[in-house]
């Protein structure tokens, strides 16, 4: 495992000069992932902030081969590229020992919602690739509309905090658990707040053949209404309150990792979810009088999902 100093010496494959917002989780996550591996990579990316901000013609921020096809098909697209790689090896057009890693990126809209079929299909078919969802919990590129990843109570432009309804009414879909049903060799949740945990997981995934999935928590200053320099603190807080546990599932074996493991084993204290919610403007209305039940419900749901995960991890 490379240490921080060694990582700084590696070549950036997502270069500076792209037009993502300051403090955007997506660019941090992508850079960390690409720094974590020395293998050549081919990247596909769903339509979304990451794609539109890094490839404004005639410029590209990508120093590795990159393809954007459409919104809902990042996984199907990379599966085609991976199949071509295999076929060219079989035909002797590419040396049999050449190694290339295939990584598909998508936001939560392109992954939880419109792209879930394409993703599920590619995982089931067993292509050798890693899918990374940078989950900023809403359709940020089109202007902060709610997705199935948007947490309960969050104000978005299509689930605004109104006089009658305090933000999104539903709890978010647990996509990582949906993907777990595909019985992959490896899947995990990560947070850029705990970057060494993220890097370790990437390194591990890159050595595993077959389909891998990574759900990466991705703060969005614009959509979540927080300062640009608060992204990493918020990414930590989400883990610390167990709203976003970091864990991995290797061949159906659950294991909480890093900070989440420390909390599960009593070595760190679990912080209240309200600390996390208070850090962002999208939850501000929940602290107004009358919404106490919503806050209580969110804490209970986080606890329920956390306890299930702790049990699955054998603690």
């Amino acid at each position: 495992m490379a240490n921080l100093k060694q990582l700084t010496e590696r070549e950036e494959r997502l270069t500076g000069g792209h037009r993502l917002c300051a403090g955007c989780g997506a660019s941090i996550i992508v850079r960390q992932i690409l720094l974590a591996t020395d293998y050549p990579v081919v990247v596909s990316c769903a339509t979304g902030c990451l794609e539109v901000s890094t490839t404004i013609y005639p410029y590209t921020a990508w120093k590795n081969p990159f393809i954007h096809n459409a919104f809902e098909n990042s996984a199907a697209t990379i599966s085609g590229a991976e199949a071509m790689f295999k076929a060219k090896k079989r035909k002797g057009e590419i040396p049999a020992d050449q190694k290339v890693k295939f990584i598909a990126f998508g936001g939560d809209g392109g992954t939880y919602d419109i792209g879930i079929q394409s993703l599920s299909g590619a995982l089931e078919r067993g292509h050798d690739f890693m899918y990374v969802c940078y989950n900023n919990e809403a359709y940020m590129n089109t202007g902060i509309q709610r997705s199935s990843a948007t947490p309960k109570g969050a104000a978005t432009t299509t689930s605004p905090a109104g006089r009658a309804i305090p933000g999104k009414k539903q709890y978010p879909k647990d996509l990582t658990e949906v993907i777990a049903g595909h019985h992959l060799p490896y899947l995990c949740q990560v947070s850029p707040g705990y970057y060494m945990d993220l890097l370790k997981k990437v390194e591990k995934a890159m050595e595993i053949d077959g389909p891998k999935f990574m759900n990466a928590f991705s703060p969005c200053p614009r959509g979540w209404r927080h300062a640009s320099n608060a992204s990493i603190d918020i990414a930590k807080l989400a883990v610390d309150c167990c709203f976003w546990p970091i864990y991995e599932i290797e061949n159906d074996k659950y294991e909480l990792t890093g900070q989440s493991k420390l909390i599960a084993t009593g070595k760190k204290e679990k912080v209240p979810v309200s600390d996390y919610l208070r850090s962002q403007g999208r939850f501000k209305h929940l602290f107004a009088p009358g919404n106490e039940d919503v806050l209580k419900g969110i804490q209970e749901e986080v606890d329920r999902r956390w306890e299930k995960l702790v049990k699955l991890s054998g603690y």
């Binding site: 005639p58 199907a76 599966s79 085609g80 590229a81 071509m84 060219k88 079989r90």
Partner: protein, 392 residues
């Protein structure tokens, strides 16, 4: 020595695909396309091809995987029909706009609703502005031969466009016909080695596919696509002529059947051309000067060649196997009439929409159309008619 085989249109397409031995095939089953993919899956399972076969979970993912595979730098084939083509519509445009030479068989079938599994051209006609080359085939032999030509045409450096190989659902896809085949090495020699252009898998020279292209560049890129389509026409003619040198079957972009001295002509596509030839033979035996123009290449539409082919003919009927709701006539009619506007004599041109949802068209009906053309006085209204439907 090449052998003759008894093949359905779908098996002919599958056999051609096996001989092309593409890098990647990605497809999803839909009637009446299924038997092509079933047959190809047998070749794959028996190790007769080097192909990676991707059995995707939808047509949308079929075309998406084809785009990823073709961009990665190799030969890619798929096939679909009707609702399947409609589902992949978004990515059909993306394939063409990224200049990826994918070959797709479309077993032409009616679009829902109501659901109907039989043949008409409403599926591929819905994609006529997508930037794909479209070739319509009369029979299984033509389908077989066109697969190899399509491979060459799409990959030509001046073209770099995807090619749709159309055949009539059930009528051609499931009918068994005699097909003269080529030897594998003849096919290999004709299609040649694939020459990748900006492949994703060239790790040393990374490229970005599918960037955000705004008001400052998008229009130029679309204009370049127009140019590629224009350049496709001479390439298609050249490839067809080379193919004819190989096996003697000369298709070109259209077939002129007794047109030279004809007073009246029908213009149509695909299997209906076969039925029309039978009627032409019958009427010619009676001394009637009738002819047929079978349009094979619909995109790019060869307007100049159509004008030349129909020069001197007074009365023309276009037989359209699809409706363009709210338009003045079917797609083939609109194109043909548009092309003929520039001629001095401006012939009478009428439209007959027929065969929607696989409704049979027979020789008597076609003869009736010829009769109207033959009986017509000097001027005919350019009307749109519906052939073989109740109430008309």
């Amino acid at each position: 020595m090449a052998k003759s085989m008894a093949l359905t249109g779908n098996f002919a397409a599958a056999y051609a695909t096996k001989q092309i031995n593409p890098h990647v095939v990605a497809a999803y089953p839909i009637t009446p396309q299924t038997t092509m993919m079933e047959k190809f899956s047998e070749y794959y399972a028996n190790g007769e091809v080097d192909t990676e076969l991707i059995c995707v979970e939808s047509e949308h993912s079929a075309m998406s995987a084809c785009v990823g595979a073709a961009a990665a730098g190799g030969r890619v084939i798929t096939s679909t029909a009707a609702n399947g083509l409609a589902l992949m519509f978004e990515i059909v445009y993306i394939a063409a706009s990224n200049r990826l030479p994918i070959v797709m068989c479309v077993m032409n079938r009616a679009l829902s609703a109501p659901i109907n599994i039989h043949g008409d051209h409403s599926d591929s006609m819905g994609c006529r502005d997508s930037g794909w080359i479209q070739i319509y085939n009369e029979n299984a032999q033509e389908v077989y031969d066109t697969m190899f030509m399509a491979t060459r045409i799409g990959e030509h450096k001046d073209v770099r466009l995807p090619v749709m190989v159309n055949l009539d659902g059930f009528i051609t896809s499931h009918k068994i016909e005699k097909v003269d085949t080529l030897e594998d090495d003849e096919v290999r020699k004709f299609i040649g080695e694939y020459q990748p252009v900006y492949p994703l898998l060239d790790i040393e020279n990374p490229v970005t596919y599918g960037p955000l292209d705004l008001t400052d560049y998008y229009f130029e890129h679309k204009r370049q696509q127009v140019e590629a389509m224009k350049k496709a026409l001479p390439v298609i003619k050249k490839v067809s002529s080379e193919y004819s040198n190989l096996c003697g079957r000369d298709y070109g972009i259209m077939e002129k059947y007794h047109l030279d001295d004809a007073d009246c002509a029908i213009v149509t596509m695909s299997s209906t051309a076969g039925t029309t030839k039978y009627v032409v033979d019958k009427l010619r035996a009676e001394g009637k000067k009738v002819g047929l123009l079978k349009v094979r290449l619909f995109r790019p539409f060869p307007a100049e060649e159509i004008r030349e082919a129909l020069a001197g003919i007074k009365n023309i009927a276009v037989l359209d196997r699809s409706e363009s709701f709210g338009a003045f006539g079917g797609p083939l009619f609109s194109e043909v009439r548009n092309a003929m506007y520039d001629t001095d004599e401006r012939p009478n041109i009428v439209d007959y929409v027929f065969g929607l949802g696989g409704r049979d068209i027979n020789a008597v009906q076609i003869e009736g159309v010829y009769k109207r053309l033959m009986d017509a006085k000097d001027k005919m209204p350019g009307d749109v008619n519906y052939l073989g439907v109740r109430g008309d």
